[in-house]
């Protein structure tokens, strides 16, 4: 883990996230969100969790971002009222951030990263299929339910 890479990725990610939160036009915000997600995936690579980084790109960039842009397309006429912005949210967000930073700085954490073998896909697969097989099934069920629910929600009502 090198400091230079960390700083570059951090700037990239935070810039993407801030743009996603404050851009006036929805489509630009959605595309900046993709930048932020790619940055977060880069953090996973930096932390040695390659698999999570790849899954992050695959799910967020390939699925969630595409869903968001598709929704923007389908609800395009609502575009004129995307500029609404309330400053109360900024105050709350800054307050929460200060509180979190205070809490983090006053907690004793072990800062030494232990040396590890690279986390292979095989290892993750073994753990998923042994210790976490029930959560895995639950997530599968949840995804199926979400799929059916989303389909029913957007299906044209028959009159």
């Amino acid at each position: 883990m090198s400091a230079a890479a960390f700083i570059v990725i951090a700037i990239f990610t935070l810039a993407g996230a801030i743009a996603a939160a404050t851009m006036p036009r929805l489509i630009h915000a959605a595309l900046s969100l993709v930048l932020a997600f790619i940055g977060i995936a880069a953090f996973y690579f930096l932390l040695g969790a390659e698999f999570v980084g790849l899954v992050q790109i695959f799910v967020y960039v390939g699925a969630v971002a595409v869903l968001i842009v598709f929704t923007i397309l389908l609800t395009r006429r609502g575009q004129e009222d995307t500029r609404g912005f309330s400053w109360g949210g900024v105050v709350v967000a800054i307050a929460v951030f200060c509180g979190l930073v205070w809490a983090i700085l006053h907690t004793r954490v072990s800062d030494a990263a232990p040396q590890i073998d690279p986390l292979t896909v095989k290892r993750i697969g073994e753990v998923l299929m042994t210790n976490y097989v029930w959560p895995l099934q639950c997530v599968g069920l949840l995804l199926t339910a979400a799929l059916i629910g989303a389909l029913i929600l957007v299906a044209e009502e028959k009159r």
Binding site: S2, I27, H28, L31, V34, E50, F51, L54, V55, I57, F58, V61, G62, A63, A65, V66, V69, F70, L73, P118, T120, V121, K122
Partner: protein
């Protein structure tokens, strides 16, 4: 041994180039190695792109009973140079109501994932540019960014044909990504690894000394390979699935408002995507860089890879020359009603094959499973029965 030397000549050359920096720190060597890989990859595939763009027109010409381009250079081989110059000196038109930034970024976003995806494919023995544990996942993860690029092109142009084309493209790419991923699953299951190198290594050796252990030679592998190829045709927007840019319906789809070099970039990205999908098909099913016959292994491994790639690319062009374009609703229902169930069948057939110890019994029963589901689906989806017998009335 001279054969081995020729086989490893590129690896040795790279090692020699890196040894020119003896006292450099570790990270400089790493970056230099990565740069070398990227330069070689881009050089090879840019040349292949130039070659295939003229060969495609030649072959299409042959299929349509005419000469292809034959004016520039010997046999028209310098045509790509002329095309490149033409594209470069053309005016770059940007529509006045376009979203300038998005419009500009779209071609780059399209080309980048295609190049990245090429990096994980093993081109020869010890010749993978970017060898990671989850290579197959990496391939599909970066590939999914192409959908966003298509959307950006469609939205940024602010043109109804562009938007329609982009929506069609995204709809069909999302639908076919599912079967494309699921047919990769049996290979990953059998090999037990997501790394392309391990998948190629698992297809090493010959049964009874003659038949190579390529996955395409098993019933589930053959079915999965055909499904993969069809889904690959859709993912690279090739005929007969090129509805997103159907010229007779919506001008050029998401590329309508692009001209000059940006259009060329789109064109290039499409071909790079085609190379990537074909390369992955070779890696997954056609034994990667392994030779088909044992005594032909003296031929360097990378030549075998590119020979297989060339065959697949020829089939791409052949299909373009012979099949008409499908309708968008046919494309979509084919994905969900036929491709997806068949892909799941491949997974089951592969599991049966695996648990019968890769023997004759497994071979026959997996063939049976694939055949039964295929016949059942084709009976179910046969739409011809829905029409009444057509009767003709002539003037009496």
């Amino acid at each position: 041994m001279p054969g081995e030397f020729v086989d490893q000549i590129f690896v040795a050359a790279k090692r020699w180039l890196l040894s020119l920096l003896p006292h450099a720190p570790d990270w400089v060597v790493q970056i230099a190695s990565a740069l070398l890989n990227i330069i070689l990859l881009l050089g090879v595939f840019a040349t292949l792109f130039a070659l295939i763009s003229v060969l495609e027109r030649k072959i299409l010409g042959r299929i349509q009973n005419r000469y292809g381009p034959n004016r520039v250079g010997p046999f028209g081989l310098l045509q790509p140079v002329a095309d490149g110059i033409k594209m470069l000196i053309k005016e770059d038109v940007v529509p006045i109501r376009a979203d300038k930034v998005v419009h500009f970024l779209a071609p780059i976003m399209m080309l980048l994932p295609a190049i990245l995806a090429l990096g994980v494919i093993p081109y020869g023995r010890n010749m993978t540019a970017f060898s990671i544990d989850g290579g197959i996942l990496f391939f599909f993860a970066v590939g999914s960014a192409a959908e966003l690029a298509v959307f950006m092109a469609g939205w940024g142009s602010n043109n109804k044909f562009s938007m329609l084309g982009a929506m069609r493209a995204i709809a069909q790419m999302v639908s076919y990504e599912l079967p494309l991923l699921i047919v990769v699953l049996p290979v990953v299951m059998i090999v037990g690894s997501l790394s392309p190198d391990a998948i190629v290594a698992a297809q090493d050796g010959y049964k009874w000394g003659i038949v190579p252990r390529w996955f395409v030679l098993t019933p589930w592998g053959a079915a999965a390979f055909i499904l993969f190829f069809v889904a690959g045709l859709v993912e690279s927007n090739r005929t007969p699935f090129d509805v997103p840019e159907g010229e007779s319906e919506i001008v050029a789809g998401h590329m309508t408002e692009y001209s000059g070099f940006k259009y060329a970039t789109f064109f290039m990205a499409e071909y790079f995507g085609m190379f990537a999908v074909s390369g992955l098909a070779v890696t997954l099913f056609l034994g990667g860089w392994h030779a088909p016959i044992a005594w032909l292994e003296v031929v360097p491994s990378y030549l075998w890879f590119f020979a297989k790639l060339a065959v697949l690319l020829f089939v791409f062009i052949w299909i373009r020359g012979t099949l008409p374009r499908t309708r968008i609703d046919q494309v979509m229902s084919f994905a969900w009603k036929f491709m997806l169930p068949m892909a799941f069948t491949c997974v089951i057939a592969a599991a049966v094959w695996h648990y019968q110890a890769h023997g004759w019994a497994g071979w026959l029963s997996s063939l049976g499973i694939v055949a039964v589901v295929y016949l059942g689906l084709s009976r179910l989806l046969d739409t011809r029965r829905k029409f009444a017998t057509r009767t003709y009335r002539f003037a009496e």
